[in-house]
């Protein structure tokens, strides 16, 4: 499974990345968490407000406020 965290590097983007990593660990699944910071690439993925979270190429979350850890787990599980 591929999880993408998209954001140019604001505080919330780092938090989102942390959340995704913890979620993967706690779910105990095989997944890579990729951070995308290039603005062009973020836009290309269709994210309008950062931070964005994509699982297997599907946008699961974008913008603030950040989802809770439980919510992130759910979003990831939904694609597993």
């Amino acid at each position: 499974m591929e999880i993408k965290v998209l954001g140019p590097g604001c505080a919330n983007c780092f938090k989102m990345e942390e959340l995704a990593k913890i979620a993967v660990k706690e779910l105990g699944i095989e997944a890579t968490v990729v951070k995308i910071t290039d603005i062009g690439e973020i836009a290309m993925n269709g994210i309008l407000s950062t931070p964005g979270l994509m699982v297997n190429g599907k946008i699961k979350h974008s913008g603030k406020p950040l989802p809770s850890l439980e919510k992130v787990k759910e979003l990831i599980k939904g694609e597993a």
């Binding site: 604001c10 919330n12 973020i42 269709g46 950062t50 599907k58």
Partner: protein, 317 residues
């Protein structure tokens, strides 16, 4: 009821002397901060629910291929309710342009979003009354509509970085998860606590200025240099405000202090708009999609429009 509570707290619970300056200030402080926090909580919650119906993706679709002027008005209004933070300015800009939102319309949105929002309006309302809040809101919307319209008319698409037009998003990936009303309530609650956590310090400072500095501040200094008597007060205030960066909540304590010291309303509102709508960090972010020439035109048009609004309000208020 709130007044009675503040009165009770100060004179009965704290046992402070009636009529003393400090206790009077404290009573005012307690009353005003509770009032503003209640207003903020209720209104942010309400706006968040409206907001959940207008994610940027939807706004983009609404504005796509809109005619100018109508588009500018819509964009400015949607800017009020569409969640957006300056760190997302670039992906949002690219997304809008790519979806066929006209350049000037995109600008109207980018201008109105940080400048006119529920936090700014509630704080102005709570501290200075609803007339000032409505004035600020209509002025902010006018600036966004006019500045965006002019930028559209100037046909400056050539000064947008060329790569922006080459990007094609994988639009099919757009999230179409249906939200239940309960989801929206949860979102509204999270958003409200999120915003309150961020702004409470500024509210306390602003109310503190009102309660404690009120009457102590030497008020002739600013009046002499930036009061009604000085025809250049507005441009000076705007020139100071443009490079500064703050959100609406952060600038409120300064706004309060300036008003307390006798700066006229139009000048203060123009200052607040300059601070929230234009800033050096935002320009650096936007530089990724706009050529320097377009940035300069943007800053110039905004500055002139805000100064105009400042003069107008000084004349009519």
């Amino acid at each position: 009821m709130l007044k009675a509570f503040a009165h009770y707290l100060v004179y009965s619970a704290f046992g402070m002397a009636q009529g003393a300056r400090l206790s009077g200030a404290l009573e005012f402080f307690i009353y005003d901060s509770i009032k503003i926090f209640l207003l903020l909580a209720v209104i942010i919650f309400g706006v968040s629910i409206v907001r959940s119906y207008f994610p940027p993706e939807r706004t983009k679709r609404i504005l796509s291929h809109k005619r100018e002027f109508i588009g500018n008005i819509l964009a400015a209004l949607l800017g009020v309710v569409t969640p957006f933070c300056s760190c997302s300015a670039v992906p949002l800009f690219i997304g809008f342009v790519e979806a066929g939102v006209p350049l000037g319309v995109t600008f109207s949105f980018l201008i109105s979003s940080p400048m006119v929002n529920e936090v700014a309006v509630v704080l102005l309302w709570g501290l200075f009354g609803w007339k000032i809040a409505v004035t600020y809101m209509s002025a902010g919307l006018s600036v966004a509509i006019i500045a965006g319209f002019i930028i559209g008319k100037l046909k400056l698409e050539k000064w947008v970085e060329a790569y922006v037009y080459k990007i094609q998003s994988m639009g099919a990936a757009i999230n179409t998860v249906k939200q239940t009303f309960k989801d929206r309530l949860v979102y509204a609650r999270e958003n409200t606590t999120d915003i309150l956590k961020k702004v409470w310090v500024y509210v306390i400072i602003a109310v503190g200025i009102g309660g404690f500095i009120h009457g102590y501040a030497p008020d002739d200094f600013l009046v002499r240099y930036a009061g009604n008597g000085n025809p250049f007060a507005v441009p000076i205030a705007v020139a100071i405000g443009v490079p500064l960066y703050s959100n609406a909540a952060g600038v409120i304590p300064i706004v309060y202090a300036l008003m307390e010291k006798g700066m006229s309303m139009g000048t203060v509102l123009a200052f607040m708009m300059a601070v929230t709508a234009l800033s050096l960090p935002e320009m650096i972010i936007l530089r990724k999609v706009l050529k320097v020439k377009l940035l300069a035109v943007f800053v110039f048009i905004m500055t002139i429009t805000i100064i105009g609004v400042g003069y107008l309000f000084n004349a009519i208020l």
